[in-house]
Symmetry: C3
């Protein structure tokens, strides 16, 4: 089972896509296995993050804004704007692929874990996320 | 095949869980496939690290302590203590999921690779790690 | 299906291994599933990166050179050279495992995504990469 989710992002921000991935799982009969989530872009990424207090994601953003500086003078790749090269580095550090266990036909996440799409470009984009489901072995 | 490993951590530290994951693999007949390891928490993580010289893991810790500062004044999420927000960022940077190939009914790790649970909170916690095994295709 | 790719690296640099992984996929009949790519070393890693402008990878390298300093005085693990401990930290931050969806017997990467082997040691090494293919569930 494989399904493509499409998002129109609002510029640099995080978006909880847990329920969308869960829905893909629950449309199947898969009881035990893995849900693989893949971002088909290099300046948006995926992360598992605390899902209760939105200031956590704000602090994650503040950390990246400070440590992966937009338009840093050392970047040679400046032509697509100051948020492009930093977006590539942020995406590499957070990762573009993610795999979550499936148990009892549901995502087996911890209570405080959510799956987030992390848009790093400052303007909105269409982003494709490929979800692939695999059954566990006996 | 899916199995939950439970650990009581001693506070901020690394713990080699390679043998525990290997044991889950060797309890099955799976010869070729993948072992997926998943941390069900957002302030503890998983990493593959050099497994011979413990100062390597000490240096990894020193890098994170310097670059993801506990209780940084820029964090808005301070209510759970100075090690909580840094723990979330450390977990995102190291990752909460990990997948290792299985060959000949064993983990196909490099000679110097170990799988580590990385606790980022300064006090000990109970941590659940979900191991899921998948057979390779023909 | 599992296959080991072997590379002789030229020292610190990135190497596009996308076509090698694709060839492993296309040697099978697998139409929908996952390709798992695993680096069997702790000072070389794998990353998905923009694959058009080589200055992007140059900027990634500049970011790491600045943020994970070779031979940093705080490292206790210095005996294997100034690029060894930084290589371990760079590998943990970029990751040693990567999973990409397979669709229609091909890697389902975005148009601008390439899979790169990232050598972090300054001298060349032989590096083994294990590719494992898994079929999706129905």
């Amino acid at each position: 089972m494989q399904h493509v989710l499409t998002y129109a992002t609002d510029g640099r921000s995080t978006c909880d896509i847990t329920d969308d991935v869960r829905t893909v799982v629950q449309r199947t009969d898969l009881t035990i296995g893995l849900a693989h989530v893949f971002m088909r872009h290099t300046s948006a990424s995926l992360m598992i993050c605390e899902n209760v207090d939105p200031t956590v994601r704000g602090d994650v953003e503040r950390w990246f804004a400070k440590n992966v500086v937009d338009g840093d003078a050392m970047y040679q790749h400046q032509i697509e704007g100051p948020d492009d090269m930093s977006g590539h580095i942020r995406s590499i550090l957070t990762g573009m692929d993610l795999t979550v266990p499936i148990t009892d036909n549901d995502l087996n996440l911890g209570v405080y874990q959510g799956i987030y799409l992390y848009e790093h470009r400052t303007d909105g984009r269409e982003r494709q996320v490929v979800v692939t489901l695999l059954p566990a072995g006996p």
